[in-house]
């Protein structure tokens, strides 16, 4: 009785495992590439729009790892990802200079916004970003940081240094989590935080946060696509990386990016920038 049950279990297990294998093996062996990108592109839903179109047109399956920009770059460095879509320009430039990465191209931008509670205890509404950061620090108003080496976190550190403030103390709190979770924490604590506009807009309905400072050139959030090369690892799919990078800067994908969010939010969440001059963005 028991042994028959065991044999049965073994069969079920084998059948299931074979099943698991067959559904994924063809794609992973043939045309499958790994895209390491930031949580903002996934949490905003942009990738859900773009990737099916890419797969349909190119035949490439995309495995998306939505992580912080820091981890995305690290995965690229180790050859664990084929192509990166990231928004941490300073770190990217250093990374490209290391030599393992291939071409790096401008894809799109949106902007960061400084958010806070309606009461705005630090009185930053309408100020420029350096001014706002100074006021938050001076008021010791609670500020929630991503603290995860993501592009947003890198941007936030830029802002502090521009404002000549070294944040610290009990008012400066770090979640170590993605943008969605960090917004949630900031909202619950009635705190200030920095977010990309896309993620904020998609979640605005459930948050008690308002845009208090926006629109200055220092708050631009610029996304680049970076192809990895075989120098990072033998198994890097350079062909897939090139296919994806070429596709996302081409006109059809750029149009999709420009349209994304219009229907739901009344305005696009991202601005397509392929071929533009980075220095002139936001002007």
């Amino acid at each position: 009785m028991k042994s028959r049950l065991l044999v049965g279990l073994a069969w079920v297990a084998t059948a299931l495992l074979v099943g698991c294998g067959t559904t994924t093996t063809p794609s992973s062996a043939d045309k499958s590439l790994i895209l390491a990108t930031t949580t903002s592109t996934q949490d905003s839903g942009l990738l859900d729009e773009l990737l099916p179109a890419f797969t349909r047109e190119s035949g490439w399956q995309v495995k998306t790892l939505a992580v912080g920009s820091g981890q995305a770059l690290e995965l690229g460095r180790r050859g664990e990802a084929d192509v990166l879509l990231v928004h941490s320009p300073a770190a990217e430039e250093k990374f490209v200079a290391e030599g393992d990465a291939g071409p790096r191209r401008l894809v799109m931008h949106n902007d960061f916004v400084l958010l806070g509670p309606e009461a705005d205890t630090a009185k930053i509404r309408g100020t420029s970003s350096p001014e706002a950061m100074k006021k938050i620090a001076a008021a010791q108003a609670v500020f929630v940081s991503r603290g995860d080496e993501s592009g947003t976190h890198a941007k936030e550190k830029d802002l502090w240094s521009t404002a000549a403030v070294t944040p610290g103390g009990s008012w400066y709190q770090s979640t170590g989590q993605g943008m969605g979770e960090t917004l949630r924490v900031a909202s619950e604590k009635a705190a200030y935080t920095l977010s990309d506009r896309a993620t904020y807009l998609t979640q605005r309905g459930t948050l008690g946060l308002e845009v208090l400072s926006e629109g200055d050139p220092g708050l631009l959030n610029v996304y680049h696509v970076i192809e990895m090369t075989k120098k990072a690892g033998d198994r890097v799919r350079t062909d897939g990386a090139k296919a994806f990078a070429d596709w996302i800067v081409a006109a059809p994908a750029q149009r999709l990016i420009g349209e994304f969010g219009k229907a739901k939010f009344g305005r696009p969440l991202f601005t397509p920038d392929a071929g533009a001059d980075e220095a002139e963005l936001g002007q």
């Binding site: 992973s28 859900d48 917004l183």
Partner: protein
């Protein structure tokens, strides 16, 4: 509070509407976790039996290791498996990372120590001379062992339930080795986490409720088997 009721409504809606994506997530969850449990049983049952019944040096160490393994954080297991399966890792050539197979491997690794420890405990509850007595009235060693399993079937089934419960509800390893790829490796736990980070709370709760329902269903089935056999004597 509203979000809970919305979640309940969403859960019912997802199940009734036959939403393709949700059903594929449910199917994958069941497939991965049941397969992982089956492998954990295949591996853990003999190991647990050896630990419980054989006398060899280091036996207690193995038992202590299995008991420790019961509390192994899934994230740690996920990290190990990820590093092994990385393109640059020793098993990178298999191309298994971010596939359901990788999730099965990681979840089986999580569940096996649980099975080993609970099987060992289950078999040690039975009289140590049980197999000798069965052989002493004519059972072959294999029949005697089968009789022992039959004798301990209640705690053994409890072990299987614990193993399934631990893997179907874990998120750390599934996220890390599976990557939460839509349509490929997205299971209920990782889908719930994603929905949460997207601010779709009622959807996240819906996934959570469906997960609960699945765990309950599997445990109910096993409990019915367990208790039916008991009643039949």
């Amino acid at each position: 509070m509203d979000v809970l009721f919305d979640g309940l409504a969403d859960a019912i809606g997802l199940l009734l509407s036959g939403d393709q994506e949700s059903w594929s997530i449910i199917a994958l969850t069941l497939r991965v976790s049941l397969t992982a449990t089956a492998f954990a049983l295949l591996l853990g049952l003999p190991l647990g039996a050896i630990v419980a019944l054989a006398r060899f040096p280091g036996r207690r160490v193995v038992l202590a290791a299995a008991n420790t393994g019961m509390g192994l954080p899934p994230v740690v297991v996920g990290l190990f498996v990820t590093v092994l399966l990385w393109r640059s890792g020793p098993l990178g050539g298999l191309g298994l990372l971010y596939t359901p197979t990788a999730m099965v491997v990681a979840q089986a690794a999580i569940a096996t120590p649980i099975v080993v420890a609970l099987v060992a405990a289950a078999l040690q509850q039975v009289d140590p001379d049980f197999r000798v007595q069965m052989q002493a009235v004519g059972a072959t060693p294999v029949r005697a062992f089968a009789a022992l399993l039959g004798e301990a079937r209640l705690p053994l089934l409890a072990g299987a339930m614990a193993a399934f419960g631990s893997v179907v509800s874990e998120v750390g390893a599934a996220q890390m080795v599976g990557g939460n790829l839509a349509g490929q490796t997205r299971v209920l736990t990782t889908a719930a986490v994603l929905a949460t980070s997207r601010g779709q709370f009622s959807l996240a709760i819906a996934f959570g409720l469906i997960l609960l329902l699945i765990a309950f269903g599997v445990n109910l089935a096993l409990t019915l088997i367990q208790q039916r056999r008991t009643a039949a004597g």
